[in-house]
C-alpha cells in the first residue's frame, strides 16, 4: 500500500508521469483494508489477542495519511517526503518484526520457550537497528541512490527468512489453527513478493523504469491487509486445517 510512494517510485515518476487513479485506488484500498482489520478486531473483541498485528495495521493506516499530507504539502519528490517515508518505513519494519514475534509466541505457546523467543527477538530488533544505523551512517551520500534499494531488499529478505522459519515450525509442530496458518502464509507471500521485486530492481536497473516496478510493490502492499482482512472475517478462531494437506495437497 505504502511502498508505492517511495523515493524510488518518485524517481520513476520524474520521467513525466503523475500519480494516476490506479495509484490512488491502491492507496485508498490499502488504507481502508488496514482500518477494517483494526475495526473488525475491536468489534470481535480480538484486538488484544492480535495486538501487535492490529497495532501494525493501525500505524500503517496512520502513516498512509501522513504520507498523503506530506505529498500534498511538500510534493512527492521533496526531501521532506523522502525523510518522512524512510523514518516511518524503519518504524514499520520494527513493528512488523514484533508481529512476527507474536506469531512465533502463538505457535510455541504450549512450549515453555517464550522467554527465549522474546530474548532472541529483542536481540534481533536491537541488532537490526544498530546494523541499519551503522550502514546508513556510512552511506549517507548514497542514501538516495542504489543503497535505498539494497536496504529495502535486505530488510524484506530478513522478513522472508523469519516467516519461512515460522512456517517450518508450524509444519513441524503440526499446527492446525487455520487462522494462524493463513496469517503466516499471507505474510510470507507479502515478504517474498516484495523481496523478489526489490531484488529484480537491483539486478536489472532497467526494471525500475517498467510498469511492473510501478505496480508490483503497491500490489503486494495491498495484498497483506486484504488477506488479513479476509482471514479475520472468514476464518474463525476454531477453524482447523491439516498442514500436511496444505504441504502435500489432497491425495
Amino acid at each position: 500500500m505504502r511502498r508505492r510512494f517511495t523515493s524510488l517510485g518518485a524517481r520513476f515518476l520524474k520521467d513525466g508521469q503523475m500519480l494516476g487513479p490506479i495509484d490512488y485506488c491502491f492507496w485508498i484500498a490499502g488504507f481502508l483494508l488496514a482500518l477494517y482489520v483494526v475495526v473488525w478486531s475491536v468489534y470481535r473483541r480480538e484486538f488484544f489477542r492480535y495486538f501487535t498485528l492490529n497495532l501494525y495495521m493501525l500505524c500503517t493506516a496512520l502513516v498512509t495519511v501522513g504520507q498523503y499530507v506530506c505529498i500534498q504539502k511538500f510534493g512527492l519528490i521533496s526531501i521532506n517526503y523522502f525523510y518522512f517515508y524512510h523514518y516511518t518505513d524503519s518504524l514499520l519494519t520494527i513493528l512488523m518484526l514484533t508481529v512476527i514475534i507474536q506469531l512465533y509466541l502463538e505457535v510455541f505457546r504450549e512450549m515453555p520457550v517464550s522467554r527465549y523467543i522474546k530474548g532472541a527477538a529483542l536481540f534481533v530488533i536491537v541488532a537490526t537497528g544498530l546494523v541499519s544505523y551503522a550502514v546508513v551512517d556510512q552511506n549517507k551520500s548514497r542514501l538516495v541512490t542504489k543503497f535505498v534499494l539494497e536496504l529495502s531488499q535486505n530488510l524484506n529478505f530478513v522478513g522472508v527468512v523469519f516467516t519461512y522459519v515460522l512456517w517450518v515450525a508450524i509444519v513441524k509442530l503440526r499446527e492446525t489453527r487455520a487462522r494462524l496458518v493463513q496469517l503466516v502464509l499471507a505474510l510470507g507471500i507479502y515478504y517474498s513478493g516484495t523481496a523478489v521485486t526489490y531484488a529484480l530492481g537491483n539486478l536489472f536497473p532497467a526494471f525500475l523504469k517498467t510498469y511492473a516496478w510501478r505496480w508490483l510493490p503497491p500490489l503486494f502492499g495491498t495484498w497483506l491487509p486484504l488477506a488479513w482482512a479476509y482471514t479475520f472475517t472468514r476464518v474463525s478462531e476454531d477453524a482447523r486445517v491439516t498442514t500436511s494437506t496444505v504441504l502435500a495437497g489432497e491425495q
Binding site: 522472508v160 510470507g188 488477506a227 495437497g249
Partner: protein
C-alpha cells in the same frame, strides 16, 4: 551476486507460500459436500470433479450474484490454476511424473469452484424471486 541469491531464494519462498496459501483455501472446501442441485446443474458425478471443468464452473460462478466474501478466494485459486497449467505445459515433455500431481491439484481447484458455485446458488435462492430474475 547477493541480489541474485536473494532473488532465487525469494522466488522459491514466494511459490511455496503462494501454493500453500491456495491449498489451505482449497482444503477447506474439500470438507464441504456438494449439494444435489449443483450436481444436477453441472453434471458432476461421484466425489471428484474433473480438472477440465474448472473454467466452465467458474463461468457459472460468475453468472451468479457476487458474494461479498469469496471474490478474493476465487481470484487466488484462479491464479493458482493458471500457474498449474503453466507448470503442466512446461513439464509435460521434460518431467512426465509431475503431470499426475498437477492433475490432482487442478481437480482440487475444480472442486473448490463447484463449492463456490453451490454456495452462490444457495445465496441466490435465499433472495426474493424478483431480484434473481434474469441472472441465469
Amino acid at each position: 551476486m547477493i541480489a541474485a541469491l536473494i532473488y532465487v531464494i525469494s522466488v522459491a519462498a514466494f511459490l511455496q507460500f503462494f501454493v500453500s496459501y491456495c491449498r489451505s483455501i482449497i482444503s477447506a472446501s474439500r470438507r464441504v459436500e456438494l449439494s444435489e442441485r449443483v450436481r444436477e446443474i453441472t453434471g458432476i458425478v461421484g466425489e471428484d470433479v474433473p480438472a477440465e471443468d474448472f473454467e466452465r464452473l467458474l463461468q457459472l460462478v460468475h453468472l451468479c450474484r457476487e458474494s461479498a466474501d469469496d471474490g478474493t478466494k476465487i481470484r487466488a485459486v484462479q491464479t493458482y490454476y493458471l500457474l498449474l497449467r503453466v507448470i503442466d505445459y512446461v513439464t509435460r515433455l521434460v518431467m512426465p511424473g509431475v503431470t499426475a500431481w498437477v492433475e490432482r491439484e487442478r481437480e482440487g481447484c475444480s472442486y473448490f469452484a463447484a463449492v463456490a458455485l453451490d454456495r452462490r446458488i444457495s445465496l441466490e435462492s435465499d433472495q426474493p424471486p424478483q431480484q434473481t430474475t434474469g441472472r441465469f
